[in-house]
Symmetry: C2
Subunit: 337 residues, 2 copies
DNA sequence: ATACGTTTTGAGAGCGCTCCCATAATATTA
DNA sequence: TAATATTATGGGAGCGCTCTCAAAACGTAT
């Protein structure tokens, strides 16, 4: 039903090859011919069949985005939508399309195999994986270009991340400088690099300032609001005067627990989060947090990936993006540098 | 680099055709032969090239998902991620992949043309569009199977929706029965069908119970938290004793405004929302709201779409899914039917 | 007018698969 | 055993495109 190159060729009185040249902006076409052909293409709203093109070029102009299922629970976290927005925008800009896979754990391996071998995508962006995720190995073994969002401890892997350790340290130091003494931490999953690194940053800050680590002031969550709430409840009996949460969503949960315990933020307990998702400027009180350039990370990842795909660029290895401590009211300091 | 049918054929001592039969589960293959071939396929992790297959079959096993840009601001609303999750799950189940387009307004028309003509997808799910969105027309003119999430006033369009009018009515009646007299409404964008219908439901409830419509108690938002906040501020001076918000996100904004005005929920002002997004059971107080089966809607939409694609099923027209009034504390009634 | 370079165009092959049809192998019946 | 029906397999064409290579058209200098 749809038109083919051959149809357009007939309609404009040239050969299939010439039409192909026009479509692919080949310069060896007489200006006049090009115009004539382009006219017909426009008239008929012609679009070349990408499957056919892909078959011969071996390229599809499609980027795969894999969000492992372990995380898709977290889909309630605005982090992923924002990331997706950045990814999508940059793809559109480069004339690529986005193929999305929310990998359910049971199907994950099977899905990966398919993605890698069925020629549907030119490259893959993998978001926020566990350290031990088998997908990395599969990806490395295949020749598929890929980039991870979130650093990975393996060698020879392209990734893009923020410096979670420094950022966690920065947030904790901020609380320390404000004079808080019993700073609790609601840490993220420790098999996630981000969760791990942020915790390390917390530890480093304590150590640098000669504060002892009090294990009872550390509770692990899984990045959900609920887990932040539960963690805070647990921490409460050890009377922290501040808490650093490894994600804004968990910070929200912590604030809820504090409110329920009739503790005032920041007077009784100060709170600092991580991410700066859209809601965080509107919590009561507004949340002090570490801002990650989430959307930009999505865009940048695609940028790097497409560069690898098109120019065969090797090992960008790690790209680290800057974070910023956004000081609002929940930490009890209306201004700091 | 990747293997082809021909390779597998050689490796297992049969012809290309037979391998194809094995892969496509054609029953005319001797059991023994099938096993032999399957073995080789498994060994080499072979996946047939989908572009090549698509070229000949005319089908890609890919479903497009279009989320118009006007809405992608709303991507901070968990509605879309949830929807996407439902869509993705059902696609995986049917062995389809998902191609995601977050349509930026400038590119929208251009993007649509491409989607429709370049043979990348077999069908399209369009989420939450404006009534006057030109995409509908383009879609109807093409032969591409598609389904809208959210009813559309046009004829001959497949869609899937909840009964927003009845649901809005139900929510408003609930407040009415609890004895509230000055029920305000924070309504959604009126060029969105959902926003429009929910408002009509509110109006109907008032009318049925012989309550006058007080125009000053109605304020329009755009489904964002911020707009709910602003709307509530505006409404406050007319002293409502309850408010029906056309989305939970706007209800959150309204609650924030109420809190700032030192009004107690539900004692001073009761609040009812719409959507029942994950956070709504954890607001303070927990939000009474109309639950939409968001994830299921995504799944169902894909189900219907694939049915159209594969069986050429005509006009399902509208599929309406049930909503449920979830009574929590923000309306001042801990129990109602 | 002839020869040469340069730009512009067309024809053919082939990407990896499915599908149709013909042939080969096997089973069934006379 | 021959004839027929049935099942299993192979070969060829072709999906719509790109890419290489050869031919045509044009320009310019001899």
């Amino acid at each position: 039903m749809p038109l083919t190159l051959e149809d357009i060729a007939r309609l404009s009185g040239v050969s299939r090859s010439t039409v192909s040249r026009v479509i692919n902006a080949d310069m060896n076409v007489k200006h006049e011919t090009r115009q004539k052909v382009q006219q017909v293409i426009n008239n008929y709203n012609f679009q070349p069949n990408l499957a056919a093109r892909g078959l011969v070029t071996g390229r599809t102009n499609v980027v795969g985005v894999v969000i492992p299922a372990s995380v898709s629970l977290l889909f309630t976290d605005p982090y992923f939508p924002q990331l997706l927005q950045g990814i999508s925008a940059m793809c559109t800009k480069h004339d690529y399309s986005v193929m999305l896979w929310l990998a359910e754990p049971e199907y994950e391996q099977h899905m990966i195999t398919r993605i890698l071998h069925n020629g549907l995508v030119d490259g893959v962006v993998v978001a926020s994986i566990r350290m031990d995720d088998p997908i990395i190995q599969s990806l490395k073994e295949s020749k598929m270009p890929f980039i991870l969002i979130g650093r990975h401890p393996t060698e020879n892997v392209n990734y893009l991340d923020v410096d979670n350790l420094q950022s966690g340290r920065k947030a904790t130091l901020h609380l320390l400088r404000l004079g808080y003494k019993r700073i609790a931490a609601i840490i993220g999953l420790q098999n996630h690099v981000a969760g791990y690194d942020r915790y390390q940053g917390y530890l480093k800050a304590l150590q640098e300032t000669d504060h002892p680590l009090r294990p009872e002031l550390v509770a692990e969550g899984d990045f959900t609001e609920e887990s932040g709430y539960t963690a805070m409840k647990r921490l409460l009996k050890y009377r922290p005067d501040a808490v650093f949460a490894a994600s804004d969503t968990m910070a929200y949960g912590a604030m809820r627990a504090l409110r329920e315990a009739n503790l005032e933020i920041p007077k009784d307990v100060a709170v600092v989060g991580f991410d700066d998702i859209p809601g965080s400027s509107k919590t009561v009180p507004p949340l002090t947090t570490v801002r990650q350039p989430i959307t930009q990370m999505g865009s940048k990842a695609v940028d790097v990936l497409i560069n690898i795909i098109e120019n065969g660029t090797k090992s960008t290895e790690g790209v680290i993006m800057d974070t910023e401590l956004v000081v609002r009211e929940s930490c009890g300091a209306s201004n700091m540098d």
